[in-house]
Symmetry: C2
Subunit: 185 residues, 2 copies
């Protein structure tokens, strides 16, 4: 009984890591079910044994990326720094991460779930953790703000920085799900 669950977790991890490598190399648009499973050495249908569908697999990859971003930011902006310096370090850390992980970072916001399909709760929490990273030093800079105001302002700050990084990134102009281009006769 236990071995089956281990095998399942092993399969999930194998697909996750293969998909991550593939996205990092080819971009989110280059991730096809058949290539992915061939590269991972498993059958096409195995995706649906390990995950609900390919979209959810991508969400899992994005969650990993978000966790790595979170770790990188915590390392670059330790709480030994003064609040203002910490904010700057967070912004610089974000830029650095985006440059060092271009395609995986792009996948974070390029990917869209089908309409009316909610983002899993555990993935939302990963976002919240990033925002709390900003809200921390912000609270010390602005002790007058309420918790709600703090959360809103952290979101706004992140959005502004992200917008600048995003528009400056060359990654924004590339990658689309492949079109058909049949060979000419």
């Amino acid at each position: 009984m236990g071995r089956r669950d281990e095998g399942r977790e092993e399969l999930r991890l194998r697909l996750l890591e293969t998909a991550e490598r593939h996205i990092a190399a080819q971009g989110l648009a280059g991730l096809k079910a058949r290539e992915l499973t061939a590269e991972a050495g498993v059958a096409l249908g195995s995706i649906y044994n390990a995950f609900e569908n390919l979209d959810l697999l991508v969400v899992h990859v994005n969650a990993r990326t978000l966790a790595r971003l979170d770790a990188a930011l915590r390392e670059m902006a330790p709480d030994t720094l003064a609040p203002a310096e910490r904010m700057v370090a967070l912004a610089r850390g974000y830029v650095r991460f985006a440059l060092d992980n271009r395609r995986l970072w792009a996948a974070l916001f390029d990917h869209r779930l089908p309409e009316h399909v909610a983002v899993p709760e555990w993935h939302r929490e990963a976002h919240v953790r990033i925002l709390q990273l900003i809200a921390g030093p912000l609270a010390r800079l602005r002790p007058d703000l309420s918790v709600e105001q703090l959360a809103l302002r952290a979101r706004t700050l992140f959005a502004a920085v992200h917008g600048v990084v995003h528009l400056s990134s060359p990654a924004s102009s590339s990658a689309r799900p492949g079109r058909c281009s049949r060979r000419r006769s």
Copy 2:
């Protein structure tokens, strides 16, 4: 001879307006070649008589949206205003436009061309016109900046405002090219 070209332009316009309506109603992800042509009352292949492919058609729709945004901003931020007030009016105008044209506005940055396919020059110019709208009052506020610094700062300002509007918009969580969901037996 002349009538043929008129007919071609007529077809382009028909497809353009139908696609625009469809995107405004269903979102960019809901735009399928077959639905579009059926709705426009033309054959499937007609798309490729009028445009290079569906992607380029979308770029044309986006160009129209960008032109409407440009016009809306020029109306909301006339040069009779003081520079600082004009900047604020531009930002408010952008938010207003995004709210009033959610899906068409979302299509502006949701849409991605296939890799290695360059954005047409005339579409880049439409972007530049928006940025010049920002650079105008900015130049009066900061006469010390060079033209290049002005352009860069206008881009950054736009990106920051856009990032905030984007992340606050509910449109960011919806819309993906439809997946298969075969009916159960």
